[in-house]
């Protein structure tokens, strides 16, 4: 028996606003763009990790108005769980993401507990950490 992660979801306030950060900044490939009513689900892929889809959708997609609002509040406050990516070229990726105008939370540093990492906010407020592989 084997198991691997297939989809990971990241909620964003505005999918179109988020795409440059994930595509041009992180270098992910837009693989699928599915619309239903006024909501969209955009799947991003990484050539380094075939088979993994990162799905961007908005807070109200598939949720009630009240649940969507609660989700959106947590998202915008910046308290939803972070997502961590790893790369073999942390400094290069940092510069590439910074060039999109993203908010820098932390420049690349060697952490006392081991990894070298850095952190950004995506345009909606998600914390995205990058660590050196």
């Amino acid at each position: 028996m084997d198991i691997s992660l297939q989809y990971s979801h990241i909620t964003v306030n505005d999918v179109d606003e988020a795409i440059p950060f994930y595509r041009d900044g992180l270098g992910l490939r837009v693989e699928n763009d599915v619309a239903s009513g006024e909501h969209r689900w955009v799947t991003l892929a990484s050539d380094t990790q075939p088979g993994l889809g990162i799905v961007l959708s908005d807070p109200h997609a598939g949720r009630s108005e009240a649940d969507g609002n609660a989700m959106q509040e947590l998202l915008t406050k910046g308290v939803l769980p972070m997502t961590v990516f790893s790369t073999s070229d942390l400094d290069g990726l940092f510069e590439q993401v910074r060039a999109t105008g993203a908010e820098v939370l932390q420049e690349p540093i060697d952490q006392p507990w081991g990894p070298k990492d850095c952190a950004f906010r995506d345009p909606s407020g998600n914390m995205i950490r990058l660590s050196q592989r």
């Binding site: 306030n13 509040e73 915008t76 406050k77 910046g78 939370l105 932390q106 952490q111 507990w113 407020g125």
Partner: protein, 137 residues
């Protein structure tokens, strides 16, 4: 949510990120409020309503949390106090005791086996001080 409500939350988040990043620098409420583009009084009320703590209390919680990690690693109380941006040892000790329920030297000198067994990132979140009634590890 309405666009202006999102703008307020975004501005508050940027101020909170600044506290998380610059907690060891001399950081006062007017500077935080300027980051959020609000008057200090309005900022303080909005911040507390959003994050459950006043901006100053949030910064002190952050400082004490970092000092706990430094004390666990064996740093002296005076050095830990200075390292996290507190300039008076007396008020640092008072805040530390108020927030954690024990003195900095008492905390430094006791065993921290539970925390040492955790991955560092988990330890950081479970040791973040909440109130004196919360179990300390």
């Amino acid at each position: 949510m309405k666009p202006y409500e999102l703008e307020v939350l975004t501005a508050l988040r940027r101020a909170k990120d600044m506290i998380d990043r610059d907690y060891a620098k001399p950081l006062d409420v007017p500077t935080m409020a300027a980051k959020a583009m609000m008057s200090p009084a309005h900022f303080s009320r909005q911040f507390k309503a959003t994050y459950g703590q006043s901006p100053y209390a949030y910064m002190m919680t952050r400082r004490i949390e970092r000092s706990m990690a430094l004390l666990r690693s064996g740093m002296s109380v005076t050095d830990a106090c200075m390292e996290v941006g507190c300039t008076s040892l007396g008020s640092f000790s008072t805040s530390f005791t108020q927030i954690t329920g024990e003195s900095p030297s008492g905390y430094r000198n006791r065993e921290h086996t539970a925390v040492e067994a955790m991955p560092a990132c988990i330890a950081k979140s479970v040791t973040r001080p909440k109130s004196t009634r919360v179990q300390r590890y």
